[in-house]
C-alpha cells in the first residue's frame, strides 16, 4: 500500500502500539495491563493490514485478541491474590535489565539485516497460505500443535493438588 494516508496510519498505529505496550509495563493493575496488551495486539493487526496481509491481520485478531487475551483474563481470574494493586517486586531490576538487553539484540539484528524491498504488491491470498502451511511446512505446523498439547497437559499436571491425586487413585 502507498500514499499519504498509509504513512499517517503507520505513525498513528506505531504510537498506539508503543503507548499501549508501555502501559502494559507501567500499569499496576493486572487487568489494566491485559487491556493494554489487547490494544497492542490490535495495533499489530493494523500493521498487517498496512502490509497488505489482510488474512494475517484477521488471524491476529481472532487468535490473539479473541483467544489468547481471553485466556490470560481467565488465568488472572483464577489466580489467587491477583488483586487490583500489585505491589513492588524484587525482580523489577533484573527484569528491566533483561528487557533492555533483549531490545538491544533485536535492534542490532534489525539494523544489521539487509532487508529486501519488494516492489510489487505481494497479494498473499489465504489459500496460498493454507497450502504452504499444510503442504510444505506441514511438519513444523503439526509439531507446534503437539507442543501446545504437551504444554496443556503439563499445566494441568502442575496445578493438581495431592487431594485430587488421591481422589483419582481411588476412582
Amino acid at each position: 500500500m502507498e500514499g499519504v494516508g498509509v504513512t499517517i496510519a503507520f505513525w498513528v498505529l506505531a504510537a498506539l502500539t508503543l503507548i499501549a505496550a508501555g502501559g502494559v509495563m507501567v500499569s499496576r493493575n493486572l487487568l489494566h495491563a491485559v487491556l493494554f496488551l489487547i490494544v497492542t495486539f490490535i495495533g499489530i493487526a493494523g500493521f498487517f493490514v498496512l502490509l497488505s496481509a489482510a488474512f494475517l491481520a484477521m488471524a491476529q485478531i481472532i487468535i490473539y485478541v479473541g483467544a489468547i487475551a481471553v485466556l490470560i483474563l481467565f488465568a488472572i481470574l483464577l489466580t489467587p491474590r491477583a488483586g487490583r494493586g500489585n505491589s513492588e517486586t524484587k525482580f523489577a531490576l533484573p527484569a528491566t535489565l533483561l528487557a533492555i538487553s533483549l531490545a538491544a539484540v533485536f535492534l542490532f539484528v534489525i539494523h544489521d539485516t539487509d532487508w529486501e524491498v519488494v516492489q510489487e504488491d505481494p497479494s498473499l491470498a489465504a489459500n496460498q497460505l493454507g497450502e504452504a502451511l499444510v503442504g510444505t511446512w506441514v511438519v513444523p505446523f503439526e509439531i507446534a500443535s503437539v507442543l501446545l498439547t504437551a504444554a496443556l497437559v503439563g499445566a494441568i499436571m502442575l496445578v493438581r493438588t495431592p487431594e485430587e491425586e488421591a481422589e483419582d487413585a481411588l476412582a
Binding site: G5, N29, L31, H32, L35, I38, A54, F55, M58, A59, I61, I62, V65, G66, A67, A69, V70, L71, L73, F74, L77, R84, A125, A126, N127
Partner: protein, 423 residues
C-alpha cells in the same frame, strides 16, 4: 450471476442503492479536496446501513417485535399502551433510559466501567462493513470477509468481561467468567461449522458465497444442514440469547455482568445485544440462506429488500427459541459445546471435505451432484444427531406420578405402575 432485469445505473434507480451513493461520491469528488470523499463514503455507509436498516430493525423488530411475539408465545399481550398497538414503546423505552441516572458503585473501576459499553457498541457497527446487501451494495468487499466477521465478533466478549470485572461485585464477576467460558467453548464449533462452508465454496468472501449459491441454485443450508444448526446454536450461545443466557441469568446471578449498570449504559448493552443478533442473522442469511438472492426474484424486487426480509425471518428464529425454551444450566451448556457440538462439527467437516474431493476429482464439479450431496448430507445430519444423542445423551428423569410427601408419610396407595420403567 444472472443479468439484472432492466437494471440501470441511474441514481434514481432505488433497486440498487449503490447507484445513489456512487452518484453522490462522484459529484463530491469533483468539487471537494482529495480525501474528503473517503470520509463522505464512510458517512454514507454508516447512514445507509446503520440508520436506515440496523437502527429501525433494532427498535421495531428487535425490541417491539420481540416483546410482542414473546408475549404471544406466552399467552399475554406484550406492550400495547404507547401508541397504536404499542408501536411507540421502544421510543418511550429509549427516552426512559436516557433520563435515568447512571449509578456507579464506589469501589468500581470507573474508567473500565465507563469504557465497556462504548467498546461494546463499536464492533456492532464494524461488522456490517462486509455484509452484502445487494450485488453492489457492500462497503468493503474484502477477500477475507468471513474471517473479518469472525474477528470482529470475538471483540464484544472482551467488553462484556470489562463490564463484569469493573463493578467489583461478585455476581458481575460470575457473569463475566461465564461469558468468557462460553465464548471460548462455542467459538470452536462455530468456526468449524463455517469451515465446512468455506471448503465447499472455496472462498472466504461473503459476496462470492452469495454468487456461488446463486450459480448452483441451492442454498448452503441444504448442503450443510448440520453446519447451519451448529452455527445457530453456537451463535445464540455467544450472543447470550435466552435459552443460553447464563451470563446474565437473573435467577442465579442477579443480572450477571450487567448487575451494576443502569440508565443508558445498560441501554447500550441491551440495544447492542439486539444489534449483534441482527448481525449474526445477516451473516447466517448470507452464508446459509442465499443472501440477497431469491432464485431469480432479485431481478424484480430490490435485492436489499429481499435481504432485509430474510434477516428479519432469521431473527424470528432467535425470538422463537427465546420464547420457547427454558434456560439451561452452565454445566449443561459446557458439556453440550465440548461433547456434542465439537465432535459433530468435526464429523461434518470430514464429510464435506470428502464430498468436495469427490466432486472435484470424480465428477468434474458437475452441477447436479451438488443436489445429490445435499440429500446425502441431510440424511447424514439426521443420523449423526440421532446417533450422538443415543450414544451420549441421557433420558430426562421421569417425574413421579405421586407426590413424594405422600409416599414418605406412608400414605401409599397402590396405583397402576408408571409408564415405562416405574420407580
Amino acid at each position: 450471476m444472472r443479468v439484472q432485469f432492466l437494471a440501470t445505473d441511474n441514481w434514481y434507480d432505488l433497486r440498487d442503492l449503490s447507484n445513489l451513493s456512487s452518484a453522490i461520491l462522484d459529484g463530491l469528488d469533483k468539487i471537494a479536496p482529495q480525501g474528503v470523499v473517503y470520509v463522505a463514503a464512510a458517512l454514507i455507509g454508516f447512514v445507509a446501513a446503520f440508520l436506515i436498516f440496523v437502527l429501525p430493525s433494532q427498535l421495531f423488530v428487535g425490541v417491539l417485535g420481540e416483546r410482542k411475539l414473546i408475549g404471544r408465545i406466552q399467552s399475554r399481550y406484550g406492550p400495547n399502551r404507547v401508541g397504536p398497538y404499542g408501536v411507540l414503546q421502544p421510543i418511550a423505552d429509549a427516552l426512559k433510559l436516557l433520563t435515568k441516572e447512571s449509578l456507579t458503585p464506589v469501589a468500581a473501576d470507573r474508567l473500565v466501567m465507563y469504557m465497556a459499553p462504548v467498546l461494546f457498541v463499536m464492533p456492532a457497527v464494524l461488522m456490517w462493513a462486509v455484509i452484502p446487501f445487494g450485488p453492489n451494495m457492500i462497503f468493503a468487499d474484502i477477500p477475507v470477509a468471513l474471517v473479518y466477521f469472525l474477528a470482529i465478533s470475538s471483540l464484544p466478549v472482551l467488553a462484556s468481561f470489562m463490564a463484569g470485572w469493573s463493578h467489583n461485585n461478585k455476581y458481575s464477576l460470575f457473569g463475566a467468567m461465564r461469558i468468557v467460558a462460553m465464548a471460548i467453548s462455542y467459538e470452536i464449533p462455530l468456526v468449524l461449522s463455517l469451515l465446512g462452508v468455506v471448503v465447499l465454496t472455496e472462498t472466504l468472501s461473503l459476496q462470492e458465497m452469495v454468487f456461488w449459491q446463486d450459480r448452483f441454485d441451492i442454498w448452503l443450508f441444504a448442503v450443510q444442514p448440520l453446519a447451519m444448526i451448529i452455527y445457530f446454536i453456537a451463535v445464540s450461545a455467544e450472543l447470550n440469547r435466552t435459552p443460553t443466557d447464563i451470563a446474565e441469568a437473573e435467577s442465579e446471578i442477579v443480572a450477571g455482568y450487567l448487575t451494576e449498570y443502569s440508565g443508558m449504559k445498560w441501554g447500550l448493552f441491551y440495544g447492542m445485544d439486539i444489534g449483534y443478533a441482527l448481525g449474526a442473522a445477516a451473516f447466517g442469511v448470507t452464508v446459509f440462506f442465499g443472501g440477497w438472492t431469491l432464485f431469480g426474484l432479485e431481478e424484480w424486487v430490490p435485492a436489499w429488500m429481499i435481504f432485509v426480509v430474510k434477516v428479519w425471518a432469521f431473527y424470528f428464529l432467535f425470538i422463537w427459541t427465546r420464547g420457547t425454551l427454558p434456560r439451561l444450566r452452565i454445566d449443561q451448556l459446557m458439556s453440550f459445546a465440548w461433547k456434542y457440538m465439537l465432535p459433530l462439527a468435526l464429523f461434518n467437516l470430514l464429510i464435506i471435505c470428502t464430498e468436495r474431493i469427490l466432486w472435484t476429482d470424480a465428477f468434474d464439479g458437475d452441477k447436479p451432484f451438488i443436489y445429490l450431496f445435499a440429500i446425502a448430507n441431510i440424511i447424514f445430519a439426521g443420523l449423526l444427531i440421532l446417533g450422538w444423542a443415543r450414544l451420549l445423551g441421557y433420558r430426562p428423569e421421569r417425574t413421579q406420578t405421586r407426590p413424594r410427601m405422600v409416599q414418605e408419610a406412608g400414605g401409599y396407595v397402590p396405583v397402576a405402575p408408571a409408564r415405562g420403567e416405574g420407580r
